[in-house]
Amino acid sequence: MKKTGAQIICESLIAEGVEVIFGFPGGVLLPFYDTLPQYPQLRHILVRHEQAAAHAADGYARATGKVGVCIATSGPGATNLVTGIANAFMDSVPMIALTGQVATPFIGKDAFQEIDITGITLPITKHSYLVTDPGELASVFKEAFYIARTGRPGPVLIDLPRDVQIEQAEYAVPAGEVKLAGYKIPARGHPTQMKNAAKLINEAHRPLIIAGRGVIISGASDELKKLAETAQVPVVTTLLGIGCFPGDHVLSYGMAGMHGSGYANKAIDNTDLLIAVGMRFDDRVTGKIGAFAPHAKIIHVDLDPAEIGKNIRVDVPIVGDVKAVLQTLHKMVEVGQHLEWLQQLDDWRRQHPMLGVREGTGLLPQYIINNLYEATRGQAVVVTGVGQHQMWTAQHYIFREPRNFISSGGLGTMGFGLPAAAGAKVGRPDRTVWLVDGDGSFQMTIQELATLVQDKIAVKIAVMNNGYLGMVRQWQELFYGKRYVATPLSCPDFVKVAEAYCIPGLRVTRREEVAGAIQQAMDHDGPFLIDFMVEPEENVFPMVPPGASVAEFIEAPKKEVSTWPRRNTP
């Protein structure tokens, strides 16, 4: 049956199970947008800036595990997607980015709003297409979704010239599996390496698992838990691995890395066998690479062969799907017992407590996150921007399930929070979704408040307002002689800004008001903003100074720390 290119695009999206598209129209996309109402099963959410469309699709994908879809017009629309695509690429998020393109006869002529977006996004997409024949659309979409979602996921861009959307072509749902000669998905680990790994695990005295986002992508949380419990191996995670292992599990020792817990980093420094699962030895995790896990043999499990040996030399490389590998490994390992090692970790946990909040009257961000955790019983989806607030959330909210902590890791994109939270809420409408943002990060995409209102997306917003670009200020304080250059930040009255968007809000300045404000936000049916006026010069601790080994973390001044009363300490 003949259909227009735009119809084939919509049919293809539906065939791939797409329910929602985040986008912003424009000249060359008019044929597509004009066709959209014929397909009411495709919900379109209008953002206020294309960058937000990409972040929303990203947040949606991270929260649901489905492929996120965003669309923008040619030229500036397409270039505005770039940050969002790069963000998804760095964190292996499955995404389809659709861009309008000038009609094929105009390509290469510097036409109005023409840009070489497949060229621009070459290093930040898993693959890309410029479709020049409407007859190819159906197979291109099928292939693109397949590539985006399988293997190590990532963004795939499809550039759609105007005439390709208008012209007609025969359409039938493409039959059969996608076959790509050059696309290999390693299924399970090499048997010899698996044997080697199991042997090392069975013989280790101080084993440690470091788990990353790969565990979440692979849906391998149960398998990870079984392996850890059977072999009695403590687990630390990367920032993006948060939630892949229950944060309140007796074998959980929190997050490792630059702002990881002292005990997690001490564990890395002392382990004799590091089992790295679905993580890629980012420099924010390893610190000084030469001093990382100095006493350990390293087993590295990853789906992407190029990650193995990229940053660090490993003893046992296992290329394969994390879930399949962990399932097999679980059958191969013996029931373990590492009482002394676990005792040692618990001692470190007592010596370097993580969940403490300084006593006194000041409104501390850590206190707010603790309250948020209590109020949501650890069940909320929490999305962050990038900066100090992101680290405080990672440290002080305890996540028990995967896909509940959504944050920009690899690219560290300020402004990610609000649109990603919108995407997460659209994908998980039955969950409470909190955005914890900084005053700097929030202002980068603050216009998306309008998106929340127009599409009735009930995101709860907690702004940690310290009047600084706090993380940069912290570095200036610690490493640049307290010269606060370009970090003091004047902010609008966020409550009034929210009000202008018809979003109710509250300003909180004292500890006593925190719990009540959070409750009020949760009770409200719809988006709500709380502007928390936090201690301006509070720092994120512990911190591994840049270039130092993870064992050389700086801690908060000890005498001021009291343990948060309602938390399970061993």
Binding site: T118, G119, L122, P123, K126, H127, L130, I147, L180, A181, G182, Y183, K184, D304, P305, A306, G309, K310
Partner: protein, 172 residues
């Protein structure tokens, strides 16, 4: 680790932009290409790319893995450790007068090179061989004055092997 020259052979889908993707990857990851030669392969719709990279074995292995991740790259192998036949073709335009012409032709003969064009003030020589052979001839010709050089870069193949064995090399 010592940097040595590695020969990578990639079989790629004959799609628009595939070379761009490969070259972009080299630039982005900071790998240097010594030479790159592209042409059709024995299979329809597939091209063969021979890339010479200078680097340590670990670095080149990372290059190979990154190339292999490109969707349009069907397979890629580092054949440096294999017994290979490697050839390069060069065209060299040398200044020649009636006094020097015969001497230049003699040098070309020694290297089994062909004279492909003769002009009143120059000779153009076509030479095929490995880089060393071409470099040696160029060294001898320099004294006469070289006006222009065009080199294809190396193309290479494993001796006696079938393409299927290339695949095995890839898996090693």
């Amino acid at each position: 680790m010592a940097a040595t020259k590695h020969t990578l052979v990639a079989i790629v889908r004959d799609k628009p932009g595939v070379l761009n993707r490969m070259v972009s990857l080299f630039r982005r990851r900071g790998f240097n290409i010594d030479s790159i030669a592209v042409g059709h392969s024995e299979e329809p719709d597939l091209s063969r790319v021979t890339i010479i990279v200078n680097g340590s074995t670990a670095m080149v292995e990372q290059v190979r893995k990154q190339l292999d991740k490109l969707i349009d790259v069907v397979r890629v192998s580092d054949i440096s450790g294999d017994k290979i036949i490697a050839r390069e073709l060069s065209l060299v335009k040398v200044k020649a007068s009636s006094a020097t012409r015969s001497e230049i032709i003699e040098i070309a003969d020694i290297f089994r090179a062909n004279i492909v064009d003769v002009a009143s003030d120059s000779l153009t020589i076509e030479i095929t061989g490995d880089e060393d052979k071409i470099d040696s001839m160029l060294k001898l010709l320099r004294g006469f004055g070289i006006k222009e050089i065009a080199r294809t870069g190396r193309v290479a193949m494993i001796r006696g092997a079938l393409p299927s064995e290339d695949k095995k090399a890839n898996n090693r």
